[in-house]
């Protein structure tokens, strides 16, 4: 019996680690994907170069959290990995190809000045496609996946619904907000004023999108409805929308008052609250209403083996990643190109 509780605990620990990894990905790659989405809005020349150079030293590290999210899911919850990816097949492929285009654009735009505008377009479209695909994957997971036995059993376009379109757009808008607020912190002068104007619009759009997804989610399934509105849980879950209101106020205030760093932090807090909200809706499922984290879990010896390394290595990673951000702190300078 002790063995059983022990492995239950390990599975929850891993769910928390994977959730942390995915959140780290969303906030870190979120702002650099967001800059990609906003890219056509920047003036050709210095403004675009500054936006690019503000993320060039860190984007690769940011994207590594995506590999950790996928790799961690594969390792700790292989069944979930084996169901979710086939179920969202076209979205995953679209995301990967989008990431190809935007990833190479960082270098290619400097190597081919004649076609720089084309690579800037590839950067924008790649970022946008990746963001929308990620949002739609989220929506597809929330609305449920048809599972028979240990495999996905639906059609290859099951993921395409009005709800997933809504989540796709929402995530792209939210990433845009992260990107704009990041640039407020990394630029000054006209570029910063421009970023601030963008951030104001995107704040409104993000709040509307969050509200729309929040309203739509309980209607997907009675489970979600009960999770959010049944007594006495509602006393706890109600804190999430309340905090959203507070953070939204801080976000608008900090942008209006011309603060440099606070808008980005407020946008991050908004994402965190949205993420906690998703956690409340989904837990303890990893494929909602089909596979719980315990059903999908790898055996205890696999989870334990990774846990040892993760506990030691993740703090080190956070350490040197933090150092890399610190090296490139302050307003953006010029690249090496």
């Amino acid at each position: 019996m002790t063995g059983l509780t022990y492995s239950l605990d390990l599975t929850v620990v891993w769910a928390v680690i994977i959730a942390f990894g995915i959140f780290a990905y969303v906030v870190m790659d979120g702002f650099d994907l967001g800059i990609g989405i906003l890219f056509p809005g920047f003036e050709v020349g210095a403004e675009r170069d500054a936006a690019m150079n503000s993320i060039a030293p860190v984007w690769d590290g940011n994207e590594t959290w995506l590999v950790l999210g996928g790799g961690g899911l594969f390792a700790a919850f292989p069944l979930a990995y084996a169901i979710i990816l086939p179920a969202t097949y076209p979205l995953v492929i679209a995301m990967l190809l989008g990431l190809v285009f935007r990833g190479v654009a960082f270098e290619f735009r400097w190597r081919d000045p004649v076609h720089r505008r084309w690579w800037d377009r590839a950067f924008m479209l790649g970022s946008l496609v990746a963001a929308i695909a990620q949002g739609m994957m989220l929506g597809a997971i929330l609305q449920g996946i048809r599972v028979v036995g240990r495999a996905f059993a639906g059609g290859w376009l099951d993921w395409l619904t009005p709800f997933t379109v809504l989540t796709g757009i929402s995530v792209a808008v939210g990433y845009g907000l992260l990107g704009a607020t990041w640039l407020i912190g990394k630029t000054d002068g006209p570029a910063q004023a421009h970023a601030r104007r963008m951030a104001r619009m995107l704040s409104i759009a993000t709040v509307v999108a969050m509200a729309a997804v929040s309203v739509a989610t309980p209607f997907l399934s009675y489970d979600y409805w009960r999770r959010w509105f049944a007594m006495p849980g509602v006393l706890l879950t109600a804190q999430v929308p309340l905090l959203v209101v507070v953070i939204t106020g801080i976000l608008f205030w900090s942008i209006a008052r011309g603060r440099h760093k606070l808008p980005f932090l407020a946008a991050l807090a908004l994402f965190l609250l949205g993420y906690v909200g998703l956690g409340i809706s989904i837990f303890p499922y990893v494929v909602p209403r089909a596979i719980t984290i315990w059903a999908a879990a790898a055996p205890a010896q696999s989870q334990l083996f990774m846990l040892v390394g993760t506990v030691v290595i993740i703090p080190i990673i956070i350490g040197y990643t933090g150092w890399a951000y610190w090296v490139f702190r302050g307003k953006v300078g010029e690249g090496y190109h």
Binding site: P78, A82, L85, P86, F106, E107, A298, M306
Partner: protein
């Protein structure tokens, strides 16, 4: 009836992984080369090393970026297209891949930014440390992923649970250090170093043919050919050992490489060339050297070797592919050895920079590493068929429930995007190496290590006119 969904999924994996591996095959060696250059620069203070570092750093940035984005595709493709494999093998290989991310990918990515952009922001020592960490990361990455790949060839240390999943039987050591892993790791890492050395020597040779006095080009040729002279013989030894290991654990693969359909109870001949036919189970027009195959594989002229006919037809890898891919790899390996020896001879005669035919040969051999590496991987991966986990899961039973049209669409998208995007990337690399390393660069005066005024870091600084070039 042909299972098109399976065939397309296999083609897609083969296509994306082949394309992907071209980049790490180059960047693993290039990272170590850059580390060497920066180390030499810090030690000697000679400007030529700093110039070469800057020259290859731009190329590294492009190649590494392409490796990253094509690698992310691989990390998801296990789940998208091989979900049964992922579900069943995940508990064993998933943790190894997670360790690759944790110990290698983050290390590379975390220090890459400083390596590319940080020379003016951190001290020289710290910048060198960042370069070393990137180089170390590429090698750690190779270690973990080759452990995973080797386990699929020689699975050990596992049990099967009630859900049909492979789970660790006890210790992780027999899983990580499975029987073929040390051989595969050695063979692959040497291959990566050779690939880079061949490219560096080719670029050096190319520019020497135009300007014999170019100091950077001389250094590149000397360092590249020197590395080839050391690595090519080592690679042949490592390949031989790897082959013996494969014969022990995957005999059908080696027999297909050799074209031995029939058993040879008293000494097998080495078939140099011929036309193998899996349908007729024979090699037509074979040119053979008696007993040499036994000598190579068993180190004994009269040792018996079994034949492919000992395996059921549907449990054999296709000799028609392996026979050729293996010969391409070995042929190129021997050519590399000859190039290395020629380089040594020219160096001994003091004519390393004055032998245009040697420089032409170096240029011609520039892409040889990539071709050999792909031929080698085709040999080992096709040689594992029809298994995905050798002896336990058939490739045909491992795929995702995704219909053929969906896979056909994604495959077409990958082919178009990869050729367009990575084709342009290769073009940009070629453009960069078409420019000579700054010719006749004056050697700067040796500057004191802690001079506050002139900092040698300025050597890394791009000049303004180059910024947009």
């Amino acid at each position: 009836m042909t299972d098109y969904a399976l065939l397309l999924a296999r083609i897609q994996f083969a296509f994306t992984v082949s394309f992907h591996f071209l980049f790490p095959a180059f960047s693993i060696g290039l990272a170590s080369f850059l580390m060497t250059l920066e180390g030499l620069w810090l030690r000697t203070g000679r400007g030529v090393y700093a110039n070469l570092y800057r020259y290859w750093l731009k190329i590294f940035a492009i190649v590494f970026g392409m490796g990253v984005v094509s690698g992310i595709v691989m990390s998801y493709q296990f789940g998208t297209n091989w979900s049964v494999f992922s579900d069943r093998a995940g508990p064993v290989i998933g943790p190894l891949m997670a360790y690759e991310v944790l110990t290698a990918f983050f290390l590379e990515a975390g220090f890459l930014g400083v390596m590319l952009f940080g020379i003016t922001k951190v001290g020289r020592g710290l910048h060198f440390f960042a370069t070393c960490m990137v180089a170390l990361g590429t090698l750690i990455s190779a270690t973990w992923i080759l452990s995973v790949n080797s386990w699929m060839h020689t699975p050990t240390g596992f049990a099967i649970n009630a859900q049909g999943q492979f789970v660790p039987a006890g210790s992780w050591l027999p899983i990580i250090f499975n029987p073929s892993f040390p051989y595969r790791l050695t063979h692959t890492v040497i291959a990566a170093f050779l690939t880079t050395a061949l490219v560096v020597a080719a670029v050096g040779g190319w520019h020497l043919l135009r300007d014999r006095a170019n100091l950077g080009a001389r250094k590149m040729l000397a360092m590249g050919l020197g590395m080839i002279a050391v690595m090519a013989p080592l690679q042949i030894l490592a390949g031989d050992e790897h082959g013996l290991n494969t014969l022990e654990h995957q005999p059908a693969k080696v027999l297909a490489m050799e074209g031995h359909y029939d058993a040879h109870p008293d000494g097998a001949p080495l078939i140099l060339f011929g036309l193998p036919s899996d349908r007729d189970e024979q090699v037509r027009y074979a040119v053979e050297i008696p007993r040499l195959s036994s000598l190579i594989l068993r180190h004994d002229l009269n040792a018996p070797l079994p034949g492919l006919k000992a395996f059921a037809r549907n449990r054999r890898p296709p000799a028609t592919i392996l026979f050729w891919s293996f010969r391409i790899m070995v042929g190129l390996g021997l050519a590399m050895l000859m190039l290395g020896v020629w380089g040594l001879w020219a160096r001994w005669r003091g004519r390393l920079y004055d032998t245009p035919w040697l420089h032409r040969a170096a240029v011609a051999m520039g892409p040889a590493g990539f071709v050999a590496v792909l031929a080698g991987w085709i040999t080992t991966e096709v040689g594992r068929q029809p298994w995905v986990i050798y002896g336990h899961i058939l490739t045909a039973d491992a795929r995702s429930p995704i219909a053929a049209p969906a896979v056909a669409t994604s495959l077409a998208a990958f082919v178009v995007v990869y050729f367009a995007v990575f084709g342009l990337g290769v073009l940009y690399v070629l453009r960069l190496i078409a420019k000579p390393p700054e010719a006749h660069e004056a050697e700067p005066r040796r500057t004191p290590r802690h001079a506050a005024g002139i900092t040698p870091a300025a050597t890394f600084e791009p000049t303004n006119k180059e910024k947009d070039a």
